[in-house]
Assembly symmetry: C2
Homo-oligomer: 335 residues x 2
């Protein structure tokens, strides 16, 4: 059996830089026609020359694969309207991180003062630049996303023309919030459709499933599944694939992030098939993102074949999700 | 400044066996006059010859330290009244593990059928053998202890003469439950008085603070603190110090357990002092346990000196709690 996907998109991807970029980019390039590239490098991408140079480095490692890196800027509270206007043609979105909530977010927004930030959000609304948000407070780890809901509501009401993407949502409360405001959208990762905190810390502790936001409860996962499997128009796939070398995972202070890029489409096909929703996969991994971001990606056909394969234990020094496990679908790229 | 503790007791301790026993026992022997030794070896301690042999191995490594290993049997659902009667003189308690909930609990109780187990609990009541319980269900990791509350209630009501010790409680609900039934008591660890899930998984993932039951919320920790700092007569100190070699902690499937034995008294003194409750430490680390278990431990005076020291990064191949951090009190043993 074969499944044909037209121009799959990964709307939340960490490609890193340097050697890691060289190593991981090909996995996304093989299975996707494009991805929204996260800007939380060290230092973060906050100006257009840096952004274009990073884009160039990404394209350099793509070889002959057709792949569009949709670039994002790292939100700074001192951005000015004229800067945004000049930047408009180079960027697909601006990504906002509250300071300190995840990997390399230290330069993010310290105080979420909507009134102070209003000129930026207004300019983004006018320029049709979507705002992507890592929506967590600095509160208790299981409550951070829910607590951030008030900020999303405030933004959605105050800036009705702003397209707001709730990145990698993990809770039932986010799933419900999303439905209440027209200008709220969301990405959902593969792993948050599959795992709960039990998979991270319920048995032995599994650092390779440790991510931010942390996986939550079964009822949270089920709420995300309901959105994704039914290809709700407000949600789209964003892997949040975030590679770390094994030395940063199996250690004393394990970094947050799950490397899912090489297995994302295979595992999604298996999940959607299991729930008898394979026909909705196209919308979840491509069509919804095109509508939300108003993108016209390069046509690229990705064929998935129903054929078991064993995921390697590592790709280089990065341990992927489903390492050493068997997946039922195999992605074969085709231009 | 000096603080004198009379015969401190650690009423929940894992000493392991073989090389690890050789390595860790001296830390408990230095600071405590005795400890309740957990029976979850591989295989578990389920008969008196094994128990006595294990006790002998423990005493062998104590050298000239005065230290009483109070022995416990691993609860099996096929124990008979006459076996318990013959065992009475050799044991201080019987420890019940639901199957699969923590390290080496695989031989534990599969189906918690109170009616079927009633003859054992009745015999224990008659013989005044306390029942220590690892009170977790196989449910969601944050709910397991709370869910087990119903079992505690059932036991407390059905066997009013049975002394039931809720081991290493971690939740507000357990703290409240404890107060409602006369025959319910509890041990509290050092780490559950200090950390929450935020310390384990809120920033970087810290495998050295990963334990079962997992650390919970701030309100849970505060409820435990209220009991311990006020030396509530129903609670006593049990470190649940559980050493694993670093290779079993900083790895893919990290084992549950925090090694706190070498720093437990120091850190407790610092905590009680911080809350201006130093005068209650004696009851929490000794007197309450004597009353609950009706023990008369060997007199041993442990002196704590207000003198900063830096906790070693490792003791052998085991990483202790507070590794490389400074503690304010130092324990000097004295017979």
């Amino acid at each position: 059996m074969r499944l044909i996907l037209n121009s799959p998109l990964d709307m939340h991807l960490h490609l890193r830089d340097g050697d890691m970029l060289q190593h991981v980019a090909k996995f996304s390039a093989k299975d996707f026609t494009g991805a929204l590239i996260m800007p939380n490098l060290v230092p973060p991408i906050t100006d257009i020359p840096s952004l274009l140079a990073y884009k160039e480095r990404i394209l350099d490692v793509m070889g002959c694969e057709q792949f569009t890196p949709y670039m994002s800027l790292f939100f700074k509270s001192d951005y000015k309207a004229d800067f945004l206007e000049r930047s408009r043609d180079y960027i697909t979105a601006i990504k906002l991180y509250p300071s300190g909530v995840t990997t390399n977010s230290d330069g993010g927004v310290e105080q979420f003062d909507v009134k102070k930030l209003a000129p930026i959000f207004e300019a983004m609304s006018e320029l049709n630049i979507p705002l992507c948000v890592h929506g967590e407070t600095n509160g208790f780890v299981m409550d951070r996303e829910k607590e951030f809901g008030a900020v999303y509501e405030c933004l959605a009401v105050a800036f009705p023309k702003l397209t707001i993407i709730m990145e990698h949502i993990t809770t039932r409360s986010s799933a419900e919030l999303l439905k209440r405001y027209e200008n709220l959208y969301a990405t959902i990762t593969l792993h948050h459709l599959l795992i709960t905190l039990d998979d991270v810390a319920g048995g032995l502790l599994n650092p390779h499933l440790f991510c931010k936001p942390i996986a939550k409860r079964y009822e949270d996962r089920d709420a995300l599944l309901e959105l994704a499997l039914n290809a709700n128009k407000k949600v789209m796939f964003g892997s949040d694939s975030a590679p770390h070398p094994v030395s940063k995972k199996e250690c004393c202070g394990c970094a947050a992030g799950i490397f899912s890029a090489p297995i994302a489409l295979s595992a999604l096909a298996e999940l959607f098939e299991k729930h008898d929703k394979l026909t909705n996969l196209q919308a979840f991994v491509s069509d919804n993102a095109r509508d939300i971001y108003k993108l016209t990606p390069i046509e690229k056909t990705v064929i998935l074949e129903k054929k078991e394969w064993i995921v390697p234990a590592t790709f280089g020094d990065v341990v992927p999700m489903f390492a050493k496990q068997t997946l039922k679908w195999q992605a074969l790229s085709q231009k």
